[in-house]
């Protein structure tokens, strides 16, 4: 048990890596391409099962308060350590990653004809990198995984993507790489500021830096802090993506193969929001509070803009992609409300969005495999020939819209409540702006209903006009089997959100305290107001 306790996360990173090597070896020696998908599926499933060991209650937090913590010196010359661990922020994201991977693999069962070996190897490498991102506690190691996740995705889009794949892949790479390079400079700068002020030598270790900050041994000058905050925030905002950095997303989503889109939506986007919470909020609480109004504004623009643009998309996949922009806007909104409800809602929406949007991309993939088009005008009345498909699609859409008792509702509701209670805008703007912000965001929910339901109506209902659609086969057992866990989760998360929220409660509280408690004069105000708002309910 001890061994597992300290090595579990490393094992999670290594299993897909070993899988990738074995896949290559298998192909080199046996040349049985049909077996590759089984091999890959086996490794991703194994990883999922192993990741369930994280639920073990006997696990005790390590030295820095993280579960399954492991801290091994890596390169002494630059004092970087392989320091990993998991806490409330990353716990469910990690499970989501390992959960979505087997689904992504099964979704490609018959779709990958071109170079399957490389495809599966890249999928496995991607999984390793994604897990690494969520568990790293050393800034440099985090940067390594953050960048490493870029390459497999770049290839997945560029080789197995659609018509315009090269443009999309290069755009994806350049956008993300520029953001993260500036983050690298900020990381190194932080290293020296730490060395300068503490006299302990430089450090990339997040817990050490945080401890020094809490103890008052490391105080960032406001201007320096703002520059560093912006460098980190830019990298993550591009990844989320926050409006106006979103332009790579619709291209990447539309051109990526189904499995790529699923992973992109379910996990890769969350690296951005996760990074903001883990690094920006923790390291630069003052700057996070001061810039909250900017992010809230951008989030609202993202929500409304994403919804409006989604409404006019002729392509189903592009529509879902823009809906991602809107949903991630909600997540940003909740995070920057700096209330417990809002941030919990943001974390929950990250998971819910991963499940529902992942499912939507799968569903779009199913119809694309049959008809090789995603134009809404090509369809109509599909429910007549594909009743099961239509049912599944409608449920998923409802979850995405935010129907109560499905997972989308819980998160969005919490985010709205959080925004109503939020005090963060009163630091920089007039007192009641939080209501206005919440109301604007609320319209986003209505818009979401409009564009999604309208699309459903045009695709599934009415008369079966297009003759090509008459022979469409309904979902196969493999496809149904694929959707069942996702549908079950949508319902389960909608009805029993408690276990999901409970995990992150402490972590979220700690961040909220850190950000709002340093507000100087407004400390009391911050503590009083939420209670007053709660009384009114």
């Amino acid at each position: 048990m001890d061994f597992l306790n300290s090595n579990l996360l490393t094992i999670l990173i290594l299993i897909p890596l070993v899988g990738a090597v074995l896949t290559l070896a298998h192909q080199a020696f046996w040349k049985q391409e049909s077996q590759l998908k089984w091999l890959t599926l086996g490794f991703t499933l194994l990883n999922f099962l192993v990741s369930l060991a994280m639920f073990s209650t006997s696990a005790k937090p390590g030295a820095s308060g993280f579960l399954f913590e492991q801290n091994v010196p890596w390169i002494k010359a630059i004092n970087t350590n392989y320091h990993i661990g998991v806490d409330g922020l990353s716990f469910w994201l990690l499970i989501l990653t390992t959960f979505i991977m087997p689904i992504a693999v099964i979704s490609t069962w018959n779709a990958v004809e071109k170079r399957p070996t490389a495809f599966y190897v890249f999928l496995l490498l991607l999984e390793s990198a994604m897990i690494g991102v969520f568990v790293s506690l050393d800034l440099l190691v985090f940067y390594l995984f953050f960048e490493a996740s870029l390459i497999p995705m770049f290839f997945l889009i560029g080789v197995w993507g659609g018509q315009n794949r090269i443009y999309a892949a290069v755009k994806f790479f350049i956008f993300t790489a520029i953001g993260s390079l500036l983050m690298l400079v900020a990381i190194i700068a932080l290293f020296f500021i730490y060395a300068d002020q503490t006299g302990l030598g430089g450090s990339f270790d997040l817990p050490s830096i945080l401890n020094a900050m809490k103890a008052g041994n490391l105080v960032l000058a406001p201007q320096t802090g703002m520059l560093l905050f912006l460098a980190f925030a830019l990298a993550f905002s591009i990844k989320v993506p926050v409006f106006p950095f979103h332009t790579w997303l619709p291209d990447a989503h539309t051109e990526a193969p189904t499995a790529g889109s699923v992973i992109l939506a379910a996990v890769l986007l969350k690296m951005g929001t996760y990074g903001l919470m883990r690094f920006n909020f923790a390291l630069f609480p003052d700057q996070a509070r001061e810039t909250a109004w900017i992010f809230i504004t951008l989030a609202i623009i993202g929500i409304i803009y994403g919804a409006l643009v989604a409404m006019v998309q002729p392509d189903v996949k592009r529509l879902v992609a823009y809906s991602s922009v809107a949903h991630m806007g909600f997540v940003i909104l909740g995070m920057f409300s700096f209330t417990e409800a809002g941030m919990q809602g943001a974390l929950f929406t990250m998971l819910a969005h991963g499940v529902t949007t992942g499912a939507l991309f799968l569903l779009v993939g199913f119809i694309y495999e049959r008809r090789h088009t995603r134009e809404i005008t090509q369809f109509g009345g599909i429910s007549n020939v594909m009743p099961i498909y239509a049912t599944v699609f409608v449920i998923t859409t409802m979850a995405s819209v935010g129907l109560p008792f499905l997972n989308g509702f819980v998160g969005e509701f919490l985010i709205m409540v959080g925004m109503f209670q939020s005090q963060v805008l009163s630091v920089t703007a007039a007192a009641n702006w939080n209501y206005i912000a919440a109301m604007f965001a609320g319209t986003g929910v209505i818009f979401a209903a409009v564009y999604l339901l309208w699309m459903v109506q045009r695709v599934f209902f009415g008369k079966l006009a297009n003759a090509k659609n008459k022979g469409l086969e309904d979902l196969s057992w493999r496809e149904i089997g694929l959707m069942i866990p996702l549908l079950a989760l949508m319902v389960y998360m909608g009805v029993f959100p408690r276990p999901f929220l409970a995990r992150s409660e402490d972590a979220v509280k700690a961040i909220k305290e850190r950000v709002m408690h340093q507000a100087g004069g407004s400390i009391e105000k911050t503590e009083l107001k939420p209670d007053a708002a709660a009384d009114q309910h």
């Binding site: 490389a118 560029g158 290069v170």
Partner: protein, 513 residues
């Protein structure tokens, strides 16, 4: 000071073991040359002789690292410190890889093998003398030994016009730069009355003619700037790199460049240091730091922007090599600004390590470019790489790896190299130098475009013309495997090596007498 040379000749401070690594290399070169003239038919033997020589030299070098050799020998003309050892390993590695890579090319072009190997070994000897020389004269001798061998190698393909043009250009401009260098050395001698760097470092506190020191320093920057292809002295590089036979280009972009960096570091960081309280040396130090910083910025900008515009892979790699000289200069400036001897040694080690990572990555890339180029380097345009990705997956993925390492992707050698050279520069806190780091980072971001371009062409486009997968000779495969492992090893497990590079072999640091 040595007033009369004859006394030295009578009782020389001869310490043969100290220069044993260099002697072994020179000996191997001589044997290769003689062997060829007696047995011209046996084409593979001289390569083996050279490789054995390089390996033996590396072993001797490794034992000297842990042994307790004196910090200097030969009346202070040879230094024995971490700068020498670190860089010497880079040179030995570069030469060994070049021999392996050129196996394919030698057969294709039917080049006289023995001459080629002998020249390469003499060039290596020159490079090693450049990093070990603690005296301006020794450094110049090393440089000329290296240069003359390289001029000839650049023109080895006698029947090819481009190769001839390349050799001629390199020769004329190189001689010009050597003249600058020599003139600068003479002026430094005039100002201080000595050519030995340890003594120069003492003398600059109170030089005979401070103005001469400044002018001499400027001349030296021009001379070394030419050798490392620093803007604006870089214009020769793209033409020479494109025209020279591909394996030689790979060699020139890594070996001689690293050698010039070694001497550049020794002359400026160790020979013209900042001495607290001394006005003359303070002014000199400030001037060369500022000059090199600004030139480094120019180098990074010119290298990266020009590389975007290239349509020939060798030319692109030439400009990329200019940009990389700029990144290494960041570490160079950091070494110049180091506040303690230990920090200085670490910064020097960082530059040596950077040259190693660059050599590993770049030689790997050149190995593949050599293989794909075919006879007379016909296929070195970007178009020729169209869609070969899944036709020759091993080659294409390796080349992608090298491109990503040149870009500086984490977990590859290039990333570690960059982190290490940026570190001392950022630590100095000097605003100009911090600005230089920012320029370097933006430069890296720009470089993503042209490095990715090759990957995009290979994997994302379809091949329109037919593709015959090239046959891979054993030597080339060995070089590829070594460089691929090197890229990952240096990117992931470099901790021990970096510490090694930073540690001087004996307790006495850098010939401080």
């Amino acid at each position: 000071m040595n007033t009369f040379l004859l006394t030295d000749l009578i009782s020389p401070d001869a310490n043969v073991p100290l220069i044993l690594p260099e002697l072994i290399v020179a000996l191997a070169g001589t044997i290769a040359m003689l062997y060829e003239s007696f047995f011209p038919k046996q084409r593979s033997v001289t390569g083996v002789i050279s490789l054995v020589g390089l390996a033996a030299s590396a072993v001797v070098l490794a034992t000297m690292w842990s042994g307790d050799s004196p910090a200097a020998g030969w009346n202070g003309m040879i230094a024995h410190d971490n700068l020498r050892l670190g860089f010497s390993f880079v040179f030995l590695f570069v030469s060994a890889m070049t021999i392996l890579i050129s196996t394919v090319w030698l057969e294709r072009e039917n080049v006289p093998v023995g001459e080629y190997h002998a020249l390469l070994m003499f060039a290596t000897f020159g490079m090693m003398m450049m990093s070990a020389g603690n005296d301006l004269v020794v450094i110049f001798l090393g440089l000329e030994t290296l240069s003359i061998a390289t001029y000839v190698m650049a023109g080895l393909r006698k029947s090819d016009l481009k190769s001839n043009e390349s050799a001629m250009k390199y020769f004329i401009l190189g001689s010009f730069a050597s003249a600058f260098l020599l003139y600068g050395m003479a002026l430094i001698y005039g100002a201080t009355g000595t050519t030995q760097l340890t003594q120069i470092a003492d003398k600059i506190v109170n030089p005979n003619f401070p103005a001469l020191l400044l002018v001499g320093g400027a001349m030296l920057i021009i001379g070394f700037g030419f050798k490392i292809a620093m803007a604006p002295f870089h214009v020769w590089a793209p033409d020479v790199y494109e025209g020279a036979p591909t394996p030689i280009t790979g060699f020139m972009a890594t070996g001689p460049k690293a050698a010039a960096f070694a001497s550049f570091l020794r002359v400026f960081v160790l020979g013209l240091p900042f001495v607290a309280g001394a006005q003359a040396s303070g002014y000199l130090h400030e001037s060369w730091i500022a000059a090199v910083s600004i030139l480094a910025m120019a180098t990074i900008i010119v290298g990266n922007t020009a590389a975007i515009l290239q349509n020939n892979v060798k030319r692109m790699l030439a400009y990329s090599s200019i940009a990389h000289a700029g990144y290494a200069l960041v570490g160079f400036v950091g070494a110049g600004l180091a506040k303690t001897p230990q920090a200085r040694d670490e910064a020097i080690a960082a530059v040596a390590f950077y040259m190693l990572t660059y050599a590993v990555t770049n030689l790997g890339a050149f190995a593949i470019v050599t293989l794909l180029a075919q006879k007379n380097d016909r296929r070195a345009e970007f178009e020729d790489y169209n869609g070969i990705g899944f036709k020759s997956p091993f080659l294409a993925f390796s080349l992608s790896l090298f491109m990503l390492s040149l870009f500086g992707l984490p977990l590859t050698a290039g990333f570690m190299g960059k982190i290490l050279v940026f570190r001392p520069a950022l630590e100095s806190g000097n605003p100009l130098v911090v600005g230089l780091v920012v320029v370097a980072v933006i430069g890296s971001a720009i470089s993503a475009y042209y490095y990715l371009r090759l990957i995009v062409l290979m994997f994302f486009r379809e091949r329109t013309s037919e593709w015959l997968a090239p046959k891979m000779p054993a030597g080339l495969v060995a070089a590829l495997v070594a460089t691929i492992i090197g890229v990952f090893y240096l990117g992931v497990f470099s901790g021990g090596l970096i510490e090694r590079f930073a540690k001087s072999p004996s307790a006495v640091i850098t010939a401080e007498k």
